[in-house]
Every structure is written in C-alpha cells, then in structure tokens.
Symmetry: C2
Subunit: 433 residues, 2 copies
C-alpha cells in the first residue's frame, strides 16, 4: 500500500507504476512520469532531488529525458532497480518524511497533464498473431471456409508487416475519416474514389522494445524477453474498403497509415509478471527450432480487454467486445525473434503490435468487420442504433486490465473519435486547408 | 566552372553539389558536407565563418547540424538560396580571395571522409513503380503470362509498402546473408529453415522528403514537388525464397528488413532539373483526379543507371544491368500524393524508394530474379562463372548519372558486399556472437 491515497479500483495502484511522458501544463517541456492513483509523479523532479542516487546500474539521468527511449535502452536490471526505488519511495512503511515531501512536491494531478507518446518510435511493426482474427479475415477477404481461411505460412511463423511510425498518435487524438480508392464495382471499371465507408478499429496490444539488437545478429528465444520493456493498448484504425483494393501484393499501406492510437502509459513486464500464463492453444505444428523455447513452454498474459463505442449523441459508451491478450497464438517473444531472424536490427522505443485480438466467441471479436461480419450482420447498440462500421462522431475506447487479488493493473484510455471526411475541395487543395 | 580543380568526368562537378553527412576523421562528430570533385566542403565550417550570413530565408544553423533533417524541413526557397550561395562561393568568377581562403580551409579530401546516412530516416516506404518490374515479378511469383501478371490495382495507384527504417545503411556496409523460412518442398510439409539461397539486389532510386505534411491533410499534385528534396541510389536487398513464403497476406517483411543500402550523397532536384523529362509511357487508364496534374503532363528524370557485380575473386566489376529512372510508370509526385491520400503525415527525412527499376529490354532488368528469370537462365559473367542469385563475397554497386553537355551529375557509389550466413550455432545463440 502506498502512503499516497490511491482510489479503490484505480487502474494505477502501487503494483502498476506505468511509465509515460507528460506535460504538466500544455506549454511545458515533456518529461517522464509514473502514474499512481490520480497523480503523475514527475521523475525529472525526483532525479533532480537525488531520489535515484542509490542506483548502482541505472543512470538516473535517463529518467530526466523527454522520452523513454534511453530508459528503454538500459535493460532489465536497470528497469528493476528503478522500479524498486519507486516502490520504496511510495510504499508507506519504507519512505521517510523527507522523501515523502520530495515526492509530494513532484506530484501532478493526472487530470491536468497533457500526455505525449511515451517514446520516439523509430519503427513500428504490426503482427497478425490472433489465429481467430486471421481466420475471420481469411473468411471475409478470401475464402468463406474457416478450414481453408488461414494461408499456408500462418501456423509456421508470426506474420507481420512494417507499419507507419509517424502516424502513431496518443490516446485522445481525433481521427479524420480518410478518402481513398476502392475496388471497382465491375471488373475492369475505374475504382471509386470516395471517403472510406468501412472505417474500422482494431483491438490490439503492443510492446515497446528495450535494448534491441544489432543488424545481422538475430535475437533468440533465450534472450528475447529481456528486450521487451512493456505494453500499451493499440487501436490500429483501418479503412477496410481501401485495404481490400490496395493490399495485393505488398500488403496494407494507405488503409492503415492515417492513424494508429496507443495508450500513453507503458505497463511494464514487471508489473504484468503475476499475470503471465501459459498460452491457451498448443502450437500445432511445433514451431521451428528458432521459435521454440528450451522447455517447450510458451507464455502470454491474462489481460482482459474491452472495446467501448460511444456514438456522437450518447454520453455513455457501450461495450461492444470483450477479449483477452491470452488468446494470441504467437507470443511476444516469438514475434520479436522472428522479426530479427534475417538480421533486422531492433532499436529502443520500437513498437510491435500484436495484431487484432479476437477470441473464439463472437462477443470477443476485435474489429467491426468481424463483429458485423463485413456488414452482413449489423451490430445493434443499446440505444437502438446499428453499426456495420464506424460512423462520424463515434468514439472508440480500448480498455485493458489484469485482475489481481484486491487490485488491478490497468492500462488507462486508448481512445479516438472519428471526424467527418474532408470535402472533395479541401482534399484536392482547391480551398485553403 | 569552379576555381577548385574538379577532375573531368567527376560525378560531382559544380553543377551537382549534392549534400551528405560525413566525419572528417572516424572519431569526429558527423557534419553536413557538399561534394565537389574529390573534396567535401565542410558546411559547419562555412557557417561558422559567416559564409551563409547573406541568406534571407535560410537559417544557416541548419547546415551546422549532424543530419540533413532540419535543412530538408526548411523547404525549396531555402534550398535554392543555399545552392545559390554555394555556387557563388565556388564559381571562379564570383568568389573573392578571402572567401576562397575560407572555403579552402573547409575542404576535406573525400577519400578521408567516413560517410554516414544523410538523415535520420523516421519512416521508409518502398514503392513498386516500374511496370516492367511488376510485370516480371507477377510472371515469376504468380502467373506466367505477362498480360495477366499485373494485379488489378496496379495501373490505378502507385502500389507501395512500409519498409524498415532502422535497417537502412550507407554504401559500403557489408550485408550478412540471412537465414529464414522457405516454402515447404511438399504441400503440408514443414518449411525449410536455412540460409537464403536466392539472395538478390534491387536497383532503385529513392527520394528524401522535405517539409512534409500534417496528419489528415493530404499533399496534392500541385504542391508535391515542393516536398521532394533530392534523390539517392538504393539497393533493396531481398531474400526471394524467404519472400515467396512469407509475403501473403501482409507483404514482404523479414525478406526485406535485413538491410537496405543507399548512396550517401543526396542529389538535389535543383541539380536534376535539366534532366526532367516527360514520362516514357502514357498513363492508361487515366490516373484518378488526385493523381492527375492540371495540364495532364507528368515528368520523370533522365538518369542512367548501372548495376555492377564484382565476384569475390575479381578485382574488376562487371556491368550486369543498365537502366534509366525515366522508365518508371508512376512519378515521384504521384507516389508522394498517394502516400498521403488517406491522411498519412510525411516528415522531413522520410525516404521513399521507387521500387526496382527494370526497362523493357532484358539488359535493363533491375534484379537477379529477373536477370536469371528465377534461376532458369543463369547469367554468364565475363570471367566464366555464372549467377542465378548472389553468392558470398559478391559485391554489388549501383551507379547513376545524368549526362549534361560537357558534365555529368553523378550519384557516387551505392555498394555492399555479401558476407556468408552465420553458422546455425551462432544464429541460435549457442556460441557467443
Ligand atoms: Ca492491425
Ligand atoms: Ca524494393
Ligand atoms: Mg493504423
Ligand atoms: Mg531491404
Ligand atoms: Ni520509422
């Protein structure tokens, strides 16, 4: 228990201590903070007051920077040391009055903070690691038979693609409905150029890369976990009609690069350790040797997920999907090792998305295209409206939490609202934007 | 003509003045330079000596930074001003003795310089804009009939994919032959996990993005050219056997992210202006309105390209392909506008590759898979050896130049050498790397 008052059911109890980058006022320089209850602890301030001077491995100056990249680069022993120091400062029995004073002076009410991206994301990759999702999309995009929906490589490697790092935004950023080309209505006709009408969300989590690797020196299953700093929620907004037309043969491009939202608080793997659970589904066939662990055991995390949709006219959001990270087929370690297997270098602050997380049940589908089965079965909302895909003004929020004994490890919001598409004139630059 | 001695046939005459980032000694901090003849002009030194103080639009301090990103961000009027000042300093008739002394003091012999990447590349995208290449690959990967080889979207939009920015390296960096999974020999069998045996190069050019765009505000054909800073040569090393297995449905991933080589000198669009030429092939069908210019005219660049292969045992390289940038179907402006059409933000220093440049003739094929027709027609080298794909020790160098009247605008080297694959033990981390 912390001497700081933490409300019951707070996503940010003393057991969590997620890292983020915030501005205490909109004009202030960004700095690193730790969330606890309804406050953010300004780490720059703690560093200046010598609160980390007992550290032996950690260079405290990395916590006084404007992004988490350098801290992510320091590696697990330094992460553990920082966490131990924070816990000792915040737990009632450990901290002395002088320290409490310093910590109290470093507190900023969370409601006042403007959150930023936690790191400079040099590269962003999105995997496709939910077998249920891959099966659903295979049915919808290619083959309406679940037994044939997976492509031949799916069970042999964690399929993934390079995404657009610049378009990753922090929770709360509005998303403009995109224009784009769509499949012609008849073969050989011109494609339609219109605002996206199949705008979708994707319920994902993503991990931030820690120290990373050198080019030409792949990570291994034995050391991969040491390169995973922590998790955020991620909404990979997707323009399905645009995606369908453009994605052959080189994969999704403009259908995915208009915005990807992440939650601002990075929940560390240390905080999630109590929720590490064996993967739900056994690998079949066996993974290749480089994706295999010594003891054949593979772990995921029991993190419950929720998608909330709030239509423009509503004050309250409706829960439209409930999932769990634990349902992923490929583990984070396998994703990371496979990413580097040909020699790709990974850098501190790189972000790797899990792919849309869908469960086996219809209630656990992680995207509108799955929920409405490509519009064939519109979703009925409690307010009487229906959805095939997202409408203008809709706000989507992702929630995630691991339920501990008397506490929960929460992720905070990962939300975004759909703005209407630009007019054709604005789009084509005929009026001033 | 410059008062500095520039050897005849130098790729870097006074008409060129490409920008790069170099270290005068291996230990020195990187700085921005301009290539002229056999020298690099240290711009940090010129800025310190006030040589850019007459600039009205340009903030000279951007030329004293460690990368070109800030200079790229300043936009065309500032680029033109910087070029005009450099020309006035370097042209015999213009510069006075005091200036000559300062410039002379800022010269570093090119042979002594260690070149770095010209910019922090936040995001890297690779297009697929050579119709000849797309047709050849369609034949080889899918459909052995050129008339059916192009996928339905190809003639409607510049197909592209997000690449891996971290694995872009500067000319001269060795490339390790990657390991990876390959298509099983029989359907249903396990994929093979081996060193790549179909290792390839891809002859490309790439442009660096200038000021760029905000999320949600697409660039237009009217303003796109102002966001293109300059060109480099690019070799997008590719593991064809790995690519073939992994690329469905989300595109190339580990088959491309083990290394992409660029030439260090960024040749500006100002230097290339005299070589701007109408595209070779008329668009058919007409491009969509957002990819159309006001007057219906579209331009490429008459830049001759060459691929040189030097086997390990040879001192001299053999020319194995001759192409031209002018053969691209989609223009750089169309690539850039399409990239942003759904709202993707572009940042200064982003890199966009053209895709492999192949001509209509067999001599102008820009990759080994095309030259050897996937190994069916091995290439005979003048020394009696043959190549289906690249072998260990092979060095590939790309050359590019625009031929002016009595001068040429060259790009310098874009080379890399193939190192043998790691042993299985090293790969799996069983011995210390
Ligand atoms: Ca996704
Ligand atoms: Ca390429
Ligand atoms: Mg996205
Ligand atoms: Mg590459
Ligand atoms: Ni990037």
């Amino acid at each position: 228990k912390s001497w700081l008052g933490v409300p019951e059911n707070s996503p940010f109890p003393i057991q969590n201590l997620p890292y983020g980058v915030f501005r205490p006022t909109p004009q202030a320089q960004p700095r690193i903070g730790v969330a606890i209850g309804q406050h953010v602890v300004d780490l720059q301030s703690l560093v200046k007051q010598g609160m980390f001077s007992s550290a032996k491995i950690l260079d405290p100056s990395v916590l006084a920077e404007k992004t988490l990249n350098s801290f992510m680069a320091t590696g697990r022993p330094a992460w553990q040391e920082a966490r131990a120091i924070l816990i000792s400062l915040l737990v009632s029995t450990n901290s002395n009055e002088a320290q409490k004073k310093i910590v109290t002076a470093a507190l900023v009410p969370m409601a006042k903070c403007k959150m930023e991206l936690p790191a400079r994301i040099g590269d962003y990759t999105d995997f496709f690691s939910s077998k249920n999702h891959a099966t659903n999309l295979g049915c919808l995009f290619r083959h309406n038979d679940p037994a044939k929906a997976l492509l031949p490589n799916y069970l042999h490697l964690p399929v993934g693609y390079h995404g657009r790092a610049s378009s990753i935004v922090v929770s709360g950023t509005d998303i403009r409905r995109p224009w784009g080309q769509k499949t012609p209505q008849q073969e050989g006709a011109a494609p339609q150029f219109e605002p996206c009408s199949n705008l979708d969300f994707e319920l994902e989590v993503a991990f931030f890369v820690g120290p990373g690797s050198q080019m030409g020196k792949p990570l291994t299953m034995a050391n991969a976990a040491d390169h995973i700093f922590g998790l955020v929620l991620m909404n990979d907004w997707s323009a399905r009609d645009i995606q369908k037309w453009e994605y052959v043969p080189l994969g999704p491009f403009t259908a995915k690069n208009f915005g990807t939202t992440i939650s601002p608080w990075v929940v560390t793997m240390e905080a999630l350790a109590p929720f590490r659970k064996p993967v739900l589904e056994a690998f079949d066939p066996d993974p290749q040797a480089y994706l295999q662990t010594k003891d054949g055991k593979h772990f995921s995390y029991d993190v419950k997920l929720e998608v909330q949709l709030r239509p423009k006219e509503e004050k309250k959001a409706f829960v439209i999907s409930k999932g769990n990270v634990n349902g992923l087929y490929w583990t984070f370690e396998q994703q990371l090792v496979h990413h580097t297997i040909t020699g790709c270098n990974m850098c501190p602050g790189d972000l790797c998305g899990s792919g849309t997380i869908s469960g086996t049940q219809p209630e656990a589908r992680g995207s509108m295209i799955e929920i409405s089965w490509a519009g064939q079965k519109p979703l009925s909302l409690p307010n009487g409206s229906t959805r095939k895909f997202l409408e203008d003004g809709d706000e989507v929020n992702l929630l995630g939490y691991a339920q501990g004994d008397g506490y929960m490890i929460g992720f905070g919001d990962c939300c975004g609202r759909i703005l209407p598409a630009l007019s054709r004139n604005d789009l084509m630059g005929h009026s001033s934007l």
